[in-house]
């Protein structure tokens, strides 16, 4: 599609592509669809969902994502600005929509929120939590180690990110169960599912608990992300409750299902590639970082983000009009052979792995350091304690579609049983709650630099 000079949007729209990422076919034919789009039309126009651009080439995704001056994430739910629809394509129904935190804001507002939260989420801040995470992983594995049977999703990869998120927010650890199922089920449950009413009720319960936490922590400060947000200085004022709920829901939505998805896919792949698994275990000091980035590239838990052009502009040879919608496909950009040789192969020591799985530009996933750390701690203990695990393909359940998250609902596995090393999960969480409270672990790194200390 590269021609002489810039192609206007109108030219491009005369040859629209058929692209609907919410269909099961997109998941099933992902590699073929990606190859075709990148080969013929790395920026294409699709008529689905009232029409939107689809950027699939790495160069195109990179250049557009970083053009923050002509790109908006704004979700104008109250119709106060230009009516933009945020990062979901299609946008959720009006009646149900609320702004998705700072991911659906533009600077400078977006920047105020990120500056508020960064000291809780930087690598230095996140590394303080490693001993606590290791304990949660240990206890989760202990619950299954004698049986020789585990569901990596339900019994491990759902639990650890959820518990850590509670701890970082300053909410009681044992409440992870209130947040866990709605955080995942709201992603994988289709709107027409008979289970929808139950999911909606669980989401309401989660919202009520979040709101209660906001009110409690505003009255009686205790360290954590909730405290940071209720007292945040957003251009001279504190955020209203509806924005607080949106930001907290973003942290939960962003932190739970994605990390679970990455972990489950990586463990499934390691089960299918036992030699690579042995090598990763043996050479983990040298390989774990690059392997983690490669799993991120290949499995891209959050496959893309929507944007709205906020001005007429021309980028990488295509003219766009103000108000047009765009899908930036991180997942497809990650498979671009011009940047990633043999893009559809997992290479645990891949060089030059400039993947876009955490997004590109000013909206880079603020929880990226949390995701990496939690993933590595889970995988490490699995390699240590369940070295010969075999996943059951019959029981493995992938999300039917990958329009929002490339996730998994279940991943059962068997392994040679081993001995427990300590207390079970509930007892461990009670003990860790005391550690969180006494050591004020959820303070920002600017206040508390010491790593969590846990007596064994």
């Amino acid at each position: 599609m590269s021609g002489d000079g810039a192609m206007s949007g109108d030219d491009r729209k005369r040859a629209p592509i058929r692209f609907d990422r919410h269909t099961p076919e997109y998941r099933e034919q992902f590699e073929a669809v990606t190859q075709e789009l990148q080969g013929k039309c790395p920026i294409a126009w699709s008529e689905t969902y009232d029409g939107h651009w689809v950027a699939s080439g790495h160069h195109e995704v990179f250049e557009i994502a970083r053009s923050a001056d002509v790109l908006s994430n704004d979700h104008d739910v109250k119709g106060e600005r230009r009516g933009y629809e945020g990062i979901s394509i299609p946008a959720p129904p009006r009646a149900k929509s609320s702004r998705g935190g700072f991911l659906e804001m533009d600077p400078p507002e977006q920047r105020y929120y990120r500056q508020t939260l960064n000291p809780y989420l930087s690598p230095a801040a996140v590394n303080r939590w490693i001993p606590l995470v290791d304990e949660v992983v240990r206890a989760s594995i202990d619950e299954r180690i004698e049986e020789g049977r585990i569901d990596f999703v339900d019994d491990l990869a759902n639990i650890v990110p959820a518990v850590l998120t509670m701890a970082m927010m300053g909410i009681q650890l044992k409440k992870w169960t209130v947040y866990n199922e709605p955080a995942h089920a709201s992603v994988y449950t289709p709107p027409n599912s008979p289970d929808q009413a139950r999911i909606t009720e669980m989401q309401r319960a989660m919202g009520r608990d979040l709101y209660t936490s906001i009110v409690e922590i505003r009255a009686n400060p205790r360290p954590g992300l909730v405290d940071a947000l209720v007292r945040a200085d957003i251009n001279g004022s504190t955020p209203p409750d509806d924005e607080l709920l949106g930001v907290l829901a973003l942290l939960i939505g962003g932190g739970f299902d994605t990390t679970t998805a990455l972990t489950a896919h990586a463990l499934e792949w390691l089960s299918e590639n036992p030699r690579q698994r042995e090598r990763l275990s043996r050479e983990r000091g040298a390989l774990l970082d690059s392997a983690t980035e490669e799993f991120l590239r290949y499995f891209a838990p959050a496959p893309g983000d929507g944007r709205t052009f906020s001005a007429d502009c021309e980028i990488v040879g295509t003219r766009f009009k103000e108000g047009e919608r765009l899908w930036l496909s991180w997942a497809m950009a990650n498979r671009d052979p011009s940047v990633f040789p043999e893009p559809n192969t997992v290479d645990l020591e891949r060089k030059g792995n400039r993947h876009s799985s955490f997004g590109l530009g000013i909206h880079r996933c603020i929880g990226s350091n949390v995701a990496r750390m939690v993933f590595k701690r889970m995988v490490t203990q699995v390699l240590d304690r369940m070295a010969d695990f075999v996943c059951d393909p019959e029981g493995a359940e992938h999300y039917e579609t990958i329009g929002v998250i490339q996730g998994m609902r279940h991943l059962p596995a068997t392994f040679t049983p081993g001995p427990r090393l300590g207390a079970g999960l509930d007892e461990t969480l009670d003990a860790l709650q005391k550690v969180c409270d006494e050591q004020r672990l959820a303070e920002p790194v600017t206040v508390r630099r010491a790593v969590a200390k846990i007596d064994h």
Binding site: F62, R66, R114, Q115, N118, P119, L121, S122, P123, A124, A125, D289, E293, K351, G352, N353, R354, H355, S356, F358, L360, G361, I362, R364, S368, N369, V445, T446, R449
Partner: protein
Amino acid sequence: MKVRVDPDRCQGHTLCAMRAPEVFELSEIDGHASVADEEVPADQEDQVNEAVMSCPERAIAIVSTAGARS
């Protein structure tokens, strides 16, 4: 060789510090990268080149000793 991080381009992906931890420092507050000393020790050049190639934002530039950008 010399290396620089463009602070306006860096978004805190932290890959450079994974590849060349002795050269790139991450802000304690937001994880954005910087170099304490632009001059790259000879034994770090491969790691720094790999960091350049790994940066998702293309925020790292090698500056040859002659001052020309490579």
